[in-house]
């Protein structure tokens, strides 16, 4: 899981970009703590061909990216 909680954009997107680039996983979980990062990571993931679902994660957000 990429834990980007506490980071403000664009760092969460950079972290996800790096994870995708390194191993292009079929499934990737990302935790973020603000709505703005949810939107930015979702947009990046969709452009990279992933489906994104958002769920609650310890009061923050968990994005599940699947291909």
């Amino acid at each position: 899981m990429v834990d980007a909680r506490g980071y403000s954009c664009p760092t969460p997107v950079v972290m996800v970009q790096k994870a995708v680039k390194e191993s292009s996983p079929k499934r990737l979980e990302v935790a973020v703590d603000n709505q703005c990062s949810v939107e930015n990571v979702t947009r990046f993931a969709q452009n990279a061909g992933y489906k994104v679902t958002v769920s609650d994660f310890e009061g923050d957000f968990k994005l599940t990216l699947t291909k």
């Binding site: 980071y7 664009p10 997107v13 950079v14 972290m15 703005c36 452009n47």
Partner: protein, 364 residues
């Protein structure tokens, strides 16, 4: 993958950009300084002046400086953001991501902005008014952002923030309410310029109402001047930059309608034509803003959402404005400041380089 429709993707941002541009033209028409609309750097500087942290251009005859006023626009932007963030359950106090580094970066971003004479928002507003010096500023701004992106790509981060108490998050919006009280009550120790740009202002209620609306729109759309160029270069994402373009279009159309569009370099309102300094000032602003994660406008909006790192950043802007004017670093219509401008800008570059290198780390 479901394709996002154009309206859904760009609608809110372009709408916000057009609203910001229209608001800038309207507020200028109603009395704000020319090509200023609501420049965040200029208006925080004016607030620093109202609190007597600086009294640039002090005139003994009238007893005030020329850039001292509590700008209701700043108050409105923050409180608009706070209100909508609370309504949307996005008011989440957090902070602790290298606050002191952010403070120092903010001081130098403000010094750079006042060498150029405007924050990124005013730069765009100046371009829409035909001020070609601001195009030079834009080149510098883009260069600074590219430096910032190279630093980001090497793992730069100011480390994570943590959840803070509601009281901590509410301090900054509360300070805005206090400023509003001072603006309305006008006690003797608060100084409002009797002449110069600080004496030029749209009516308080109109300025406040317009800024509240823009604050709401900016919070919802995440509008950011530095984010526009950054995302376009880094991620080929053109959403934020579409708002950037929309502001220029709205300001341009507004100025054409009002007959205030004057293309050229010479005799532009509250601007100078020292190309090198217009460029270098905005390189500092672009670089520093990427490291800070957003332009001065965005920092105000985030501070309104309870982000105390952004609140510290805004405090740094205010201190930077006082430093700029007290040490003669700020430019004026006649040219760059009479103080050690070159030394200050050089120190700014060194500070940003050291902060950039020292905060590169492996993410994850």
């Amino acid at each position: 993958m479901q394709k996002e429709s154009f309206v859904r993707r760009y609608g809110l941002l372009i709408g916000t950009g057009l609203a910001v541009g229209a608001a800038a033209v309207l507020l200028t028409f109603l009395g704000n300084p020319a090509n200023m609309g609501f420049c965040i750097a200029c208006f925080l500087r004016d607030i620093a002046g109202a609190l007597n942290f600086q009294r640039a251009g002090f005139d003994a005859e009238v007893g005030t400086g020329i850039v001292q006023y509590i700008r209701p626009e700043v108050i409105g932007l923050v409180l608009g953001s706070t209100a909508i963030a609370m309504a949307k359950k996005e008011f989440r106090p957090k902070g602790g991501s290298s606050p002191m580094i952010r403070f120092i970066l903010a001081v130098f971003v403000m010094i750079g902005a006042l060498v150029f004479l405007g924050c990124p928002l005013r730069m765009v507003i100046r371009i829409g008014g035909g001020d070609l010096n601001a195009v030079v500023g834009l080149v510098g701004f883009a260069l600074g952002i590219i430096i910032g992106i190279l630093v980001l790509k090497r793992g730069f981060s100011l480390r994570r923030a943590y959840q803070q108490s509601m009281a901590e998050g509410l301090i900054f919006p509360a300070l805005m309410l206090a400023l509003l009280a001072l603006l309305v009550l006008r006690p003797d120790f608060i100084i409002f310029s009797a002449k110069g740009p600080g004496s030029m202002a749209a009516p308080v209620l109109v300025a406040l109402a317009v800024a509240l609306v823009i604050g709401v729109l900016a919070q919802r759309s995440r509008l950011c001047m530095v984010g526009g160029i950054r995302d376009a270069v880094m991620f080929r994402d053109f959403r934020l930059i579409s708002a950037f373009a929309a502001i220029i279009v709205a300001v341009l159309v507004g100025n054409l309608l009002l007959g205030s569009f004057k293309p050229g370099f010479a005799e532009q309102p509250i601007a100078h034509s020292e190309t090198l300094w217009n460029l270098l000032g905005m390189v500092l602003v672009g670089w520093g803003s990427v490291l800070l994660g957003g332009c001065p406008l965005r920092q105000l909006i985030l501070a309104g959402e309870g982000n105390t790192d952004s609140a510290v950043t805004v405090t740094g802007f205010i201190v930077g404005a006082a430093v700029s004017h007290n040490f003669g670093l700020a430019s004026s219509a006649t040219g760059i400041g009479t103080g050690p401008v070159a030394v200050a800008v050089a120190i700014g570059f060194v500070v940003m380089a050291v902060i950039s290198v020292m905060n590169m780390q492996k993410l994850n």
